[in-house]
């Protein structure tokens, strides 16, 4: 297959998959809304599944051959440029993360614990050999230290960093899709809420975790907003302080949402959105895949 033809098929596949992406993300939104009273861990699981479906849709579209190939090299170039720009912050940050100076102070299993004066608050990254870094200010106060460690170790245990990175890359591939980034912010927010819940379940006092967050947020420049809409941090602190049961039936929601999503994906696999070629785009029939 010639280069331009492969490119045309790829562009077609991206467009094909992005239409289905709309349906999948809408479904993710509907299910997480329905799970409003369930735990953040459940909603995070649903968003993770939703995001896992996106590369699968792209792969399926490309493998089967999209309905139409779009012979517009500029469109392919635009897509690639956008994807690179969207992935760039992750690459730049990874590079800067590697250059942060920190001192290892201990370890928990494979997780390395350390302290660094060059971070503005506790952070964690890494998958096989994760790192949890605390800042000196957080380490000084014992309740804060415990709350921060419990929260970060919960991220490690849940595998949140890997999900964070892979879903970001998925967003980069669908950078032009208006629903992808808001959905990703929901996923990231639920991961924080879930780690807060896990920290409290492990015995951290809600007031300690809330005080730690408030202490960190108070050192940030105030928001430029009018103060009508509550900031995500304020919402999070209030949610931490709210007395309630935290680990609601995780399995039930997970099973129900997985089954729903699987059904939807199967249906989408059969759906071929381009019954008629869209206008304003130069279209040509996809090249048939060569016979084995």
């Amino acid at each position: 297959m010639s280069g331009p033809a492969a490119l045309a098929i790829w562009t077609g596949a991206v467009l094909d998959a992005s239409l289905k992406t709309t349906v999948v993300l809408g479904l993710g939104l509907a299910v997480t809304r329905a799970l409003k009273r369930s735990s953040a861990a459940n909603r995070h699981a649903v968003w993770t599944l939703t995001f896992a479906a996106l590369p699968a849709l792209l792969w399926a579209s490309h493998r089967r051959g999209p309905q139409v190939a779009i012979d517009a090299p500029w469109l392919a170039a635009l897509w690639l440029t956008g994807a690179c720009v969207a992935a760039a912050p992750l690459a730049v940050s990874t590079w800067r993360l590697r250059r942060i100076r920190w001192t290892q102070t201990g370890s928990v299993g494979r997780t390395r614990l350390g302290v660094s004066a060059h971070i503005s608050g506790p952070i964690t990254w890494g998958w096989l050999r994760p790192v949890v870094l605390l800042s000196p200010r957080v380490i000084e106060a014992a309740p804060h230290r415990e709350a921060a460690l419990a929260h970060e170790l919960a991220h490690v245990q849940r595998g949140d960093w890997l999900i964070h990175t892979l879903t970001w890359l998925t967003c980069a591939a669908f950078w032009f899709h208006p629903l992808v980034w808001p959905a990703w912010r929901q996923l990231a927010m639920e991961a924080e809420h879930a780690a807060d819940d896990a920290a409290i379940a492990s015995g951290v006092a809600p007031s300690s975790l809330a005080a730690l967050l408030l202490g960190l947020a108070s050192h940030r420049p105030p928001r430029g907003a009018l103060g009508i809409v509550s900031s995500p941090t304020a919402t999070r602190i209030r949610s931490i302080l709210e007395p309630r049961t935290r680990h609601a039936s995780r399995w039930r929601a997970s099973v129900v949402s997985s089954a729903g999503l699987a059904l939807a994906l199967t249906a989408l696999g059969q759906w071929q959105p381009w019954t008629a070629p869209p206008e304003n785009v130069t279209c040509q029939p996809a090249h048939p895949r060569p016979l084995p």
Binding site: V85, A88, P89, L90, V92, S93, T94, R96, L97, R99, I100, A117, H118, I119, S120, G121, P122, I123, T124, W125, A148, H151, E152, H155, D160, W161, H164, T165, A191, E192, A195, A205, P206, S207, A210, A211, L212, L213, L214, L216, A217, S218, R220, P221, P222, R223, G224, A225, G227, S230, S231, P232, T233, A234, I237, R238, L241, P243
Partner: protein, 124 residues
């Protein structure tokens, strides 16, 4: 004031805006990959010459302030987009306990402090 800023100078200005006002030592501590103390002081002196910063004596040390408040120091739109994307803090590739842009208003801080005190009284 129209002199373009070097990468380091831009970094110092970003940190000054983040802190509101800061000493040389504070800025150096906040840099991820800091040059020597005297190099940071030299950078800040250049920024004073370029009229981006002014300083005030606070006891034995100098505290630097931006000459233009943060709201008005708007960069050209394109430059701002580029810096938002490429000046990425290391926290983007990690899970931060709190994201950099999550500031709170004074009213929110006061009300949350009260809520935390109430939770403490209930032993939570």
């Amino acid at each position: 004031m129209d002199d373009p800023l070097s990468r380091r100078e831009r970094q110092v200005m970003d940190l000054i805006y983040r802190h509101g006002a800061a000493s040389v030592a504070t800025i150096r501590d906040a840099m991820a990959d800091p040059p020597s103390y005297s190099a940071v002081r030299a950078l800040m002196s250049t920024l004073v010459e370029k009229e981006h910063l002014r300083y005030e004596a606070d006891g034995r040390r100098y505290v630097y302030h931006p000459t233009v408040p943060a709201e008005r120091a708007s960069l050209p739109a394109l430059q701002r987009v580029v810096s938002a994307f490429f000046d990425g803090s290391p926290a983007k590739a990690a899970l931060a306990l709190l994201h950099l842009d999550d500031g709170l208003t004074a009213e929110e801080i006061a009300s949350l402090e009260a809520a935390i005190a109430a939770a403490r009284e209930q032993g939570r």
